[in-house]
Symmetry: C2
């Protein structure tokens, strides 16, 4: 067994120490190509560290091409000849080390183009706020957010998403994680949750951190399979009706009615409607919100400005049904709003003066052009494209026989891309499938962060990577 | 029984509806002076609303002088002649309605003087950040906070509080509530907590929202009674060693050692050290932090800039012991930092260039002057002053026989102040005492928000209010 000496007091995270130790063992040749690494369960018991410490170290080695996952379980060391040296060394000071490997192209679905943010206007509004409001910006505002911002949000929501809400129902917060954490407390720690499968891993992570194991409800081409939800013990379900993540499915009209009926059938049932990228729809008519379809009392509507404005701003909001507003105020009275008043005043002005709408219209065109450039480059025999209606990623269904002339798994195709420095995501990552032999390989390719010209190149390089052509 | 018609769909919180209903009953004379209101338990069952809804409505009526609490239980309607009309009507749109009554003087302990905030410097740094960093401000930063800010915090902590920490241990977040919520998840939902009694009601509120009932550990003149903690089943204790809230006691050297020993005796024991107003100490030598006294592995150090800078900025941080850093990263990897990068860069610069230190030195002098002005006005027979060493409030021990020539309770004295529009806080509010007959009446009077001259008047008015002199 590998026996690293881990120092819990060094200030360097354990997984980094473990990663560096194994990397050195591989580089020096003490661990040879083809040898198997211990399972995370065995290794964590042996070292008395958590399984996720082991898994993060392995994931980092995997990302950097030192090891690869085996078909059914565990990892093996890659032979030297197909190994690539990592682009950067990870440092212990950066907490996000596991994700900070530098790829040639980072095509994660969360990629957005912050350079298109109307920074000049934002900075001008900020300066104006500093002049006009001064001391007011220093006062602690209401815990649900300042009234002008909540009014502007209601106005926008009604016009564009047909969400029915008064400012009393809006809760502004520093990101979806913060708001979802408040909601979990609001609904009580004993509540049973269900999530879409496949779905957002982040939602499951947040619930798991509260000790909640969410039930998995399958998704098909018409969105959440509501009949499966009905069979479960769930009281609250997290859904993405306008644009299911990751499949891109739109929740059908019949299922919407069925879902609302399910929620109305018991007093403590609620639907969390995550409308995360409803603003980037490229074709077809807009998909209305569930909240506006008669779900005012049963739907908790979530929205974040992270994708549409900039990830660093940390402004999100939720719309609580009126019956929950009282309970919210009872429980959280005196809590301060997690977004600084300064950002709130600026955003309120940005919305009221119509800058947000103009920015969205512009970005919709920009992103549509990018999607088309990438799609054009990927239209080859052996690749079928999905999720063309909206959102900032394409889905690639790959037929490896046709594309590569070999029967490759999702995992093997993914490894080929990673080795070429192209970071895409296998569908297996979102749950519900293993990506193993026999299942059609399927990938999510985010295009938000690159311009159209670069995306044409990326499409071609991606095909070469799949085919292992130089 | 009173039978209000409450409308859950009106958009107006239930407690506001209830408050308005009872107020109308009293004003119209249908509820006469001296009649008793139903207990919150009975009334909540009768109306099918939560007890806190009833309690908030009663508290509002109490604050506004319509009703008063009876010695042992419940409330009675005040006779018209000693009733005062409220200064403002509460509105349903403002979530903080229960606290938004306008007082002539609001002497809560949280009052600070935001007008002294070095706004010009802050605004200049912000403009500089906009110019220098631009797009970088839009990128999502590390989840623990940007490195320059964490470095500046470590530097400051070591110099002024002898806290030993590397940037890896710092977690920046949007206020204490947000950070404490993360910590509760980090330590696991099954953990037993203890809090000081009397202590911060907010800490108990946050824990209760997670379904956690904290154990109450008594406090005496030397701070937390550690021997009582040892007898309890608590694993984690929240303490304010430098300046106990609300008693002002400093945790004695012997108790500090005892407390650290308690924490070291079991692996999952931790101390949450809340250093909330250590910066405003007016006499004696600085009190060192527990963290720096050999508690690096057992103490989670909390600090907020709400009091020392401005309540609206929402920047706080915690220092995690190294063994918890790994677990934190495992659980919260990918969570975004709740403070916008923009504010983080500005604060980092503010700390690094020494503005923070200068601001604190200035405010220490300002607040000391205010404390002295208030204390001078209150030095009369029948009032003994406490908490003179530091913090932004005085403690008034009142001998009602000597001061007023009558045997009044804390509650009765408090009502006299409220009726004169002077908002102070009875010690009973913080738990551990009832404030009832036989106990020495004791009040907390915050002076942070008013200048020295006003405070001299306030002191005199306060004495007149206690004596019921016009």
């Amino acid at each position: 067994m590998l026996t690293p000496v881990l120092d819990r007091h060094s200030g360097k995270p354990l997984y980094v120490q473990l990663y560096e130790y194994i990397r050195e063992e591989i580089r020096s040749g003490r661990l040879e190509g083809g040898s198997r690494l211990p399972s995370s369960r065995t290794f964590s018991a042996y070292l008395s560290v958590s399984r996720s410490t082991i898994e993060m170290a392995y994931a980092q080695l995997d990302d950097e091409g030192y090891i690869r996952s085996r078909e059914r379980s565990g990892y093996e060391v890659l032979p030297t000849e197909i190994r690539t040296e990592p682009a950067v060394q990870i440092r212990s000071a950066a907490p996000e080390t596991a994700d900070s490997t530098v790829y040639k192209y980072d095509l994660r679905t969360s990629g957005v183009d912050a350079s298109k943010f109307p920074f000049t206007i934002w900075a001008r509004l900020m300066r104006r706020m500093l002049l006009d409001h001064g001391g007011e910006l220093l006062q602690s505002g209401p815990s649900q957010g300042i009234l002008p911002l909540r009014e502007a949000i209601c106005e926008y929501l009604y016009q564009y998403r047909r969400v029915q809400a008064v400012p009393d129902q809006i809760v502004v917060g520093a990101g979806t994680e913060t708001l979802l954490a408040l909601l979990v407390q609001l609904l009580g720690m004993q509540t049973e949750y269900a999530v879409e499968c496949p779905g957002f891993p982040r939602v499951e992570q947040i619930l798991r951190n509260f000790g909640i194991d969410a039930l998995q409800i399958p998704v098909d081409g018409r969105g959440l399979v509501v009949s499966e939800l009905k069979k479960s013990a769930a009281q609250v379900v997290h859904v993405t009706p306008a644009h299911q993540f990751p499949t891109g499915a739109i929740l059908s009209a019949g299922r919407r009615q069925e879902l609302l009926k399910w929620a109305c059938a018991a007093p403590e049932r609620y639907i969390i409607e995550d409308d995360y990228d409803s603003e980037f729809r490229f074709s077809g008519s807009p998909v209305p919100s569930l909240q506006g379809m008669g779900g005012e009392d049963k739907v908790i509507y979530f929205y974040t400005f992270a994708q549409s404005l900039a990830p660093s701003l940390r402004i999100a909001y939720m719309v609580l049904p009126l019956p929950l507003v009282d309970r919210f105020r009872d429980m959280f009275h005196g809590y301060a709003c997690t977004v600084p008043s300064f950002e709130q005043f600026t955003l309120a002005e940005f919305l009221k003066q119509g800058y947000y709408e103009r920015h969205l219209n512009r970005m919709r065109k920009v992103y549509r052009g990018r999607q088309q450039a990438l799609a054009a480059a990927l239209r080859v025999p052996g690749i079928r494209l999905g999720n063309l209606n909206g959102g900032l990623y394409l889905i690639l269904h790959v037929d490896p026989q046709v594309l590569c002339g070999a029967d490759l798994t999702e995992e093997e195709l993914w490894q080929r891309c990673i080795r070429q420095g192209i970071r895409i995501t296998g569908m297996a990552r979102y749950g519900g499938r293993t990506g193993a032999d026999g299942q059609e390989p399927c990938f999510l390719v985010g295009f938000g962060a690159y311009d159209a010209e670069t995306l044409s190149c990326i499409g071609r390089e991606l095909i070469r990577a799949f085919k292992e052509e130089k």
